[in-house]
């Protein structure tokens, strides 16, 4: 089943009146259960593409279909709903909520869905247990290492069973051993839970382990 599909996608930024063509003509389709890595040098448009796929930004031209539905013309609040219900995000800089503990960060997106507290706690704990980070439950982000924070972020991204998880250079701030563990984790979730992952990276290790590799260059898919 097709999760997300783009049609002649173009994104032009205005940089102080100067148009910057970040994406030139992207045609891409990702199906359920895929594990896709978008690689390419810095400035090639990886972040831009992920933001568009993640309904965080709107394209200048072209269309994006999410689960068959055109999302290019949707309202801000509808896009927020899609993000909440269907998508998971992992950011390069972990971006956990600093005043919440690990488990509360994970509960946060469930809270937004209106899941009752007891159920939230149980689900968060069992998932943390599954991912081997149960002992981090009560730690605040500033008490965790980068790798630990990113594992919590992965847990937060998948806890609502999203159709698609988007991760923008999730290993960029991690050493290669930690990055390897994180990749193990995501691969496991992909295999065990059939969660679809799209992430960007220019990290060799990540690219080598990709099941499907898309190489971006100057806003175009090279291969």
């Amino acid at each position: 089943m097709e999760i997300v599909k783009t049609e002649n996608l173009v994104k032009i930024y205005q940089d102080n009146g100067v148009p910057v063509e970040a994406l030139k003509m992207i045609n891409l389709s990702v199906s359920k259960g895929e594990y896709v890595v978008i690689a390419g040098p810095s400035g090639s448009g990886k972040t831009t593409l992920l933001n568009l796929l993640g309904a965080l930004d709107k394209p200048t031209k072209g269309k994006i279909y999410f689960e068959g539905e055109d999302i290019t013309l949707k309202e801000k609040s509808d896009l927020a709903k899609i993000r909440l219900h269907k998508l998971g995000f992992i950011f390069q800089a972990y971006n956990l909520i600093p005043v919440l503990s690990a488990i509360e960060n994970i509960e946060f997106s469930m809270m937004l869905l209106g899941i009752p507290e007891k159920e939230r706690k149980e689900k968060a704990l069992s998932l943390m247990d599954e991912l081997g980070i149960k002992e981090l439950a009560d730690k605040r982000p500033n008490e965790m290492s980068g790798g630990q924070q990113q594992r919590v972020a992965v847990t937060r991204a998948i806890v609502n069973n999203p159709s698609l998880v988007l991760a923008d250079e999730p290993t960029a701030n991690l050493d290669s051993v930690t990055a390897g563990h994180l990749l193990d984790l995501m691969e496991r979730m992909n295999a065990e839970k059939n969660i679809t992952f799209i992430f960007s990276s220019h990290d060799r290790q990540v690219i080598d382990r990709a099941k499907r590799l898309i190489i971006l260059k100057d806003g175009l898919i090279e291969s």
Partner: protein
């Protein structure tokens, strides 16, 4: 969860939260103290003036107050007396008769305001009789005795025990004159009054003026000044006479009412300015705390948090701080106001003179009236919510990506 988040965010930047808190505590304490002193002193002033002279309420013939005349008088009959006695909330009542006249002693004569009272009843309503500085006050059954304003005695160059002649135009237009013995003088605070007033028994005055049983007014004292309107209402019902009206102290002393209202308005304007300053202070700190967290907000918006919930967070954080500050401010304010109630601030010098010229006690009182605390708290809650509008609007307009990129 939103509440938990707000609570922890408050603790995150302790210094800034403390600043907001301090602003709220300061504003509420200041407002409670000022309003307390203002309203407390007003109440004291009213009480002093009203109890000295006018009484809390008066029954008069319609139109007497605007245009006094002996013709606008009425008879206090048994049914009126029992109406007054049976109306709940009335502590005492005293019939009065006022007239203008001329007082002479040997070669000196002066225009005078005749103030005729029944001493037994008057002492239940007002207390000027306690201000006797020479001699004594006449009693209810004495006749042909008068008490003069202190200054009037001196102006006439008379002494206690001397006889004076008082001349006045009576009820039917004829001139009456009678001889009276000066038994005492009273201090009245106001020079003009002290130089012109003569007190006599109501029966003496009725005979001088040919008034029969008629009086111009009945002054009334109530148990509780806050129930004036209620007492007035039930009194009107039982008196049931379309020719008579019931006036409250502020109708009898419109000048006093105006003066107090004027300074009350002045106080409120001052507090308004204070509140505006505090509002901008809060606006500033809220805006800082919000702008600082744009990145974090961007993340939660990306996750799919509805924009509106994020604005709630801004309001809840501020409201929590405000409520906590109000709790402290109210507590401190209550302690301060209670202290002043027990230990009024005494005035000296010019202030003392000014207060005395209005017949006020030369002191500042305070008040612990619940309404002061309520209104101040509501006002500060409103201004802090108001101060959140702009920051909350910025949050509402924040794009998730702008937030994430913001650093």
């Amino acid at each position: 969860m939103l509440l938990k988040l707000a609570w922890r965010n408050i603790w995150r930047n302790k210094r800034r939260s403390l600043l907001t808190l301090a602003a709220v505590v300061f504003a509420s304490l200041m407002a409670i103290a000022m309003r307390g002193i203002q309203l407390g002193t007003f109440a004291l002033n009213i009480k002093t003036v009203v109890e000295l002279f006018s009484g809390y309420m008066q029954i008069q013939e319609n139109g007497y107050h605007d245009n006094p005349s002996l013709n606008k008088s009425f008879i206090v009959d048994q049914s009126m007396i029992s109406s007054l006695q049976n109306t709940k909330g009335i502590l005492g009542f005293a019939p009065r008769l006022y007239a203008d006249g001329l007082i002479s002693y040997k070669n000196e004569s002066r225009g005078t305001a005749i103030f005729a009272i029944d001493p037994d009843k008057e002492s239940l309503v007002t207390n000027f009789m306690q201000n006797v500085d020479r001699g004594k006050f006449f009693t209810s059954d004495s006749s042909h005795e008068v008490v003069l304003g202190s200054q009037l005695l001196e102006n006439l160059k008379a002494k206690i025990g001397d006889n004076v002649i008082i001349l006045a135009q009576g009820f039917d237009g004829t001139l009456g004159n009678q001889k009276y013995k000066i038994v005492g003088t009273v201090k009245l605070g106001v020079q003009g009054m002290e130089a012109a007033t003569v007190f006599m028994g109501i029966k003496s005055a009725q005979s001088l003026l040919g008034m029969g049983n008629r009086v111009n007014a009945i002054a009334i004292k109530v148990h509780n000044i806050n129930q004036l309107k209620k007492v007035k209402k039930s009194l009107i019902q039982v008196i049931h006479d379309p020719n008579l009206s019931v006036l409250l102290w502020n109708n009898v002393n419109p000048g006093l009412q105006q003066m107090l209202e004027f300074s009350s308005v002045r106080g409120i304007i001052f507090l308004g300015i204070l509140f505006v300053i505090v509002a901008f202070g809060i606006l500033n700190t809220v805006l800082m705390s919000v702008t600082e967290r744009f990145r974090e907000f961007g993340v939660v918006l990306s996750i799919g948090m509805p924009q509106i919930k994020l604005t709630y967070l801004v309001y809840i954080e501020t409201l929590l701080l405000t409520l906590f500050g109000l709790l402290l401010g109210n507590l401190l304010g209550f302690v301060l106001n209670s202290y002043i109630v027990d230990h009024p601030i005494m005035f000296g010098g010019e202030m003392k003179k000014m207060y005395e010229s209005y017949h006020f006690l030369p002191q500042a009182q305070s008040s612990t009236d619940f309404k002061i605390f309520l209104y101040v708290s509501l006002a500060i809650i409103l201004i802090s919510l108001f101060a959140c509008i702009y920051p909350a609007h910025k949050v509402y307009k924040l794009e998730p990506l702008k937030g994430i990129r913001h650093t």
